[in-house]
Point group: D2
Chain length 149, copies 4
């Protein structure tokens, strides 16, 4: 972990989020930023669905990947950047609900590689329902032109 | 493999594609349908990018998941349906290009579980560049109300 | 979840473990069985190492797969059986220690598919160290001759 | 890719294999070494089985991880080393046969990260049968004491 003060990583994650065109077109909001844990929320929208009327796996992947990535930004130096190498998504229950919550948490911070786990939940009338999990492997990038964070 | 005649699975895959709101909002087109192999193409659009200006991992996941899923529809009975259980995506090179091609191919057809592998390519001036790979595990659903394919 | 009484699943998991030749040749012991959570332990042995003298990834996979599989046996009917469809392993830190602990926990029980998460730890003089994580997707098998659990 | 002459990587892979205690205790043999592609073979042995009498997933993982890792050694500098970060295994058919063949191939060589795909086959009286696939993400290690390749 680095010595970033907390104001710093909050601001950098918000700026980073502001540049993510794909997330905005989904209607995503950054609702919680802690060191090593970030949450993104998404209201239901029919344009986010697949043929069965449930949240599309690509939307779930985008939101979980972003939550894991932002969690990684909270544990690296201000001048470093994050690149996702790979992730695995398990689709556990159909994504039906009024809103969706996606949480990314750092499982293993490292000097080169960061591993995070993410969980997605559908939120409606009843209790939150676990709809998806992700494990994501990311690489810390330093000083590579054109990919500044 | 089933005895579907080829016209049948072509039509079902096109109908299925027509119902996928999330894919349409990406600008995706179904460009090739063979038994056990389907291709989807996507023109570059700035709204599909993440903070570095390259194709968002969620978009890549959506397109590869769909290509793998449609390939699965080509090897199942007409009345059955496909549900993705899980997938893994490796992001191999930054997604920069004029167009993107996503191919899904069946690795292992089964009576309950189908495994497919997908590859994504960026297409521009030079040779096509491999940008991502996916392995996807899907389940064949039969007669479950409300999830008819 | 099923109505198995707890004595039942304990016994079935012990019997299942007794039949796993590959686990015995690793020196593995079943050290904890709860509903939806099972632990396996392994003393360090040079024959379990790879070229850097650390625990081989295949050994870690075998132990985590078994811990996840046994956890699945604790939540299914006595006559059903479990087959692993796929898993992902992240190797988080080098496997160095006197003993290793592998825990499998059920993330999502289902009527056909069970998803479990596993964690592996190295245990030595200091605090336990997280060395690996797994997400495993399993299928419940009923009445298929020759694969009875 | 590097300028290693081919004799060099052959020899380094054989030396590396000779140091892998876990592979030897499985009975594995290195049967083919090409640049970016390596094969390992394994005769059937009851001690490699799980409770259904088929090849244990951990054995399959060990063999595929090794085949992918050795393939990576064939495309890096002589003084560099390979560390597996993560892999995903799909178990496609029960591992029954007289012998098993595991092939690792480089999908994406890189300056820091190498991605390989592996396939495992059961070999008996009939045609070779695909039993498993792997995607593996590895990191190139340079000059880190105690992990020399």
């Amino acid at each position: 972990m680095t010595d970033n003060d907390s104001g710093d990583f909050h601001e950098r994650i918000h700026q980073n989020f502001a540049r993510q065109a794909a997330l905005h077109s989904l209607g995503a909001e950054l609702t919680r930023i802690e060191r090593a844990m970030v949450e993104i929320e998404l209201p239901f929208d029919v344009k986010l669905t697949q043929q069965h009327g449930i949240l599309h796996a690509g939307v779930i992947s985008a939101a979980l990947d972003s939550a894991c990535g932002f969690a990684a930004y909270s544990v690296i130096d201000a001048e470093a950047s994050i690149l996702t190498i790979e992730f695995k998504v398990n689709l556990l229950s159909p994504g039906r609900g009024d809103r969706f919550l996606f949480r990314g948490e750092i499982t293993k911070p490292g000097s080169n590689i960061i591993v995070a786990d993410g969980r997605g939940y559908a939120i409606g009338d009843g209790p939150a329902k676990l709809i998806a999990s992700m494990t994501s492997t990311m690489m810390i990038i330093r000083g590579r032109e054109g990919i500044s964070g």
